[in-house]
């Protein structure tokens, strides 16, 4: 590009360094945000700024909620191509139930994996999620979780 190799390499080092450095800055910025994903949740949902809670009663609170949560449209679409025939309107046979909480994240995330009838692969599962306030069992707004832990 220039008569001297040294000039060419200096140009390359300058401009590609600047361009790729800008990309790295963007990457590091979003990486820094991702460290604070739970704190962004707390910011977005002020009602969830409370101390970590003990796990609520399975029989009184969690079991009825696990049984009531169904996969949303996105999760249904993810398995729609993996079955012979249409998907059932309601999934009844859970394969796994999970509840997750941390000291940074006093809310309780619930995961339910359902068996999928007529699945081409018998290990296919469809997932349902809900995040609740462990003190009351009330569901948290999904859209506001999506800008924090749901995004990262």
């Amino acid at each position: 590009m220039f008569p001297q190799l040294r000039h060419t390499m200096a140009w390359l080092h300058t401009w590609f360094g600047l361009a790729l450095g800008l990309v790295l800055m963007v990457v590091f910025f979003f990486g820094s945000l991702s460290v604070f994903d739970r704190e962004i949740d707390r910011w977005a949902i002020p009602d969830t700024r409370y101390a970590p809670q003990p796990m609520p009663s399975f029989d009184k609170m969690l079991k009825p909620i696990f049984e009531s949560v169904q996969p949303n449209e996105v999760e249904r679409a993810a398995v729609a191509g993996l079955v012979d025939g249409p998907l059932p309107a309601r999934f009844d046979t859970p394969r796994s139930w999970g509840a997750y909480t941390t000291h940074r994240d006093p809310v309780l995330a619930l995961f339910i994996g359902y068996e999928v009838p007529n699945a081409k692969d018998h290990e296919t599962a469809v997932w349902a999620n809900r995040t609740i306030d462990p003190r009351t069992g009330v569901a948290l707004p999904d859209d506001r979780l999506k800008i924090g832990s749901g995004f990262f």
Binding site: M1, F2, P3, L5, H7, T8, M9, W11, L12
Partner: protein, 98 residues
């Protein structure tokens, strides 16, 4: 500084040849290398890993050469043509092997 080589379009072409031409050339090197080593009896995944390592050096060399070269047209032809020739050769050899 030579003003004739520092036009916007020249820089865009240089960058395109370096990035895309380097990619095509590296593709050819990796395809040909993996095929030849597999043909010579090396396990496929060993040959694949080895030429991924060679590939990153090949891309670096092609990328720097594209900026260092005086004649951009010839460089582009070497990288794209060479990459295509190597890929075609690898494809022909694969037909013999499988």
């Amino acid at each position: 500084m030579n003003s004739s080589t520092l036009t916007r379009s020249h820089i865009a072409w240089r960058t395109a040849v370096a990035v895309l031409g380097g990619y095509v050339f590296t593709w050819g090197i990796v395809a040909a290398g993996v095929t030849m080593l597999f043909g010579a009896g090396m396990a496929f995944h060993d040959a694949e890993h080895l030429f991924y390592i060679v590939g990153i050096l090949a891309f670096l060399g092609a990328f720097l050469a594209a900026f260092a070269a005086r004649d951009l047209r010839r460089t582009a032809l070497t990288l794209v043509g060479g990459g295509a020739a190597l890929s075609a050769g690898a494809w022909l050899l694969q037909q013999q092997l499988v």
